[in-house]
């Protein structure tokens, strides 16, 4: 779908950052920017600001049934966040999840994209659709389905599931990793595949004339060229991992190992259903900052690697 996700080579106008010369056409800028800007302020910045403000308040009340008053409490809620062992355990848990699941998922997506692009495979349209279909299933529904598939008694894979309890404390994290992988491989594959399609054919010509194998071409030409797409999907997967909510929430109902604080977002959700809005807001703000730091660190890491 896009050349954007392909590293720039053979695209002269991109390596030529001519200053946009439209200063005198500036009156058009508000027309382009304001519609999005207004919505972004109203539905992104305003609620975030509101959440931050909320997280700075605490509740006071008198007597057992007295009305609650919100008073400014500074960083009181953040002290609670930082002394909450379960929350940080859950962050550690999703990081372990991400370190294993993200490479597996993206590796699979990359292999499938390369195979689709290699000309070795017939029926590409069919496969493209087949791999993408799981993505059409909303997370909640996908988790409910896999709950059945893991069931020791009702699963179509009963010989396997009755021998191995995928919903036990040891395995349930990976059972969920499988659900996430199942849903998202096709999606990531499409991003990478479209990046591959955008590589001009003549890039390969020389290699083909030299008699390089498909594997060689994939390894030394295609993968480096689609690296930006891979980095992008990685960042998105990191964000997605830290924000796991639907899968663990559904899995709570059929696995004894998934607690109410299993993932950071589940902690936010269960805190706000106590209801303790202020503490929930502090948890969300902390989670957003953690996500920000990790994604940023990853981007820095890859761009430094790229320069070397």
């Amino acid at each position: 779908m896009t050349q954007t996700l392909v590293a720039s080579r053979h695209e002269p106008h991109r390596s030529d950052p001519k200053p946009a010369r439209a200063v005198r056409h500036g009156r058009a800028v508000p027309f382009f920017v304001v519609p999005f800007g207004v919505l972004f302020i109203l539905f992104y910045l305003l609620p975030i600001g509101y959440a931050i403000v909320q997280s700075l308040y605490t509740v006071e009340r008198t007597g057992t049934f007295g009305p609650a008053r919100e008073v400014f409490g500074g960083l009181t809620q953040y002290e609670r966040v930082f002394s909450d062992g379960a929350f940080w355990t859950s962050i550690g848990r999703v990081l372990v999840f991400g370190v294993v699941q993200v490479p597996v998922m993206l590796g699979l997506a990359l292999i499938l994209a390369l195979l689709l692009d290699s000309g070795l495979v017939k029926g590409r349209r069919f496969f493209r659709l087949a791999f993408f279909v799981p993505y059409a299933i909303p997370g909640v529904i996908a988790a409910i389905m896999w709950g059945f598939l893991y069931s020791p008694n009702l699963s179509p894979l009963k010989p396997v599931t009755s021998a191995i309890d995928f919903l036990s404390a040891d395995l349930v994290l990976w059972a969920m990793a499988n659900v996430v992988t199942w849903v998202y491989v096709g999606y990531n594959m499409l991003i990478i595949y479209s990046a591959l399609l955008a590589i001009p054919a003549e890039v390969y010509e020389a290699a083909k004339l030299d008699g390089a194998s498909q594997f060689r071409i994939a390894w030394s030409i295609k993968i480096p060229l689609v690296m930006p797409a891979i980095v992008l999907t990685t960042v998105f997967s990191i964000i997605g991992t830290l924000q796991l909510l639907a899968e663990p929430q559904v899995f709570r109902s059929f696995s004894s190992a998934v607690t109410s604080t299993y993932t950071p977002n589940l902690t936010v959700y269960s805190t706000s259903s106590i209801p303790n809005f202020n503490l929930a807001a502090a948890f969300s703000v902390t989670l957003a900052l953690t996500t920000f730091v990790l994604s940023f660190a990853f981007l820095r890491f890859t761009s430094r690697r790229g320069e070397q």
Partner: protein, 289 residues
Amino acid sequence: MSTHAPEKTRIKEPLLSRTGAMLVMAVCTLYFLVPIWWLFVGASKSSDQFTSTNPLWFADFDLFANISDLFAYRDGVFLRWMLNSILYTGGAALLGTVLAAMCGYALAKYRFRGRELLFNVVLSGVLVPATALALPLFLLFSKVDATNTFWSVFLPSLVNPFGVYLARIYATASVPDELLEAARIDGSGEIRTFFKVATRLMFPALVTIFLFHFVAVWNNFLLPLIMLSDERLFPVTLGLYTWNTQVNQIPELRGLVIVGALLSITPLVIAFLLLQRFWRNGLGAGAVK
């Protein structure tokens, strides 16, 4: 210049590679499609047979009876949910893509003060967890008495910071300044140039942004869960979730959830098939430059 043609290379590849590749594809197809097949088979069974017969093969084929039960349940509320989902998702993705494209285009093609700041702020919006936004949004909508309305879900769904990011990069890459200059010399206004010239060049990217956006809205069920209390405004994900929580009171609902899940996949598959066609055109257009 043309996209590379697999036909030329296929002949040269050894049979082994081709067989190996097809094998990988076959295994993966099984992995991705068996659960869907299970869903399809499950949807065709009565609730009694659902637990008592082979989960991967048909018993009495009751799919159409199940579908008509689903459509009849509570005056066809399921159809209403499907329609809502299409409106929320399709509408928000379409309009959101245009807005993101405009903003990204301006960021790429005009210089103005605060441009980088704006870009960075928008980009960090991508990192904000949905749970952090949904509750404050509810409280803010409450202040203007607009919760439990179509707009309370639709408007926040329009904003897609990632789309702006993609649109900016793509506009930089695929819309040459010379072309814009030429359009200006022809007397075309900035806005007209954007819609007549730039969007055509950016079309593949716009399709990408649309797809990302469509799926993000489709999957977001926390916002409608918090915003909506009128069942007739629910998107299909929230509706099915609601039924699923009531299964222990009314066990018949389990069957409806399964049939509903099967039917709810169809709009996305259709959207995908349509977009696939656009893609190819888009790629062709991209190759002409």
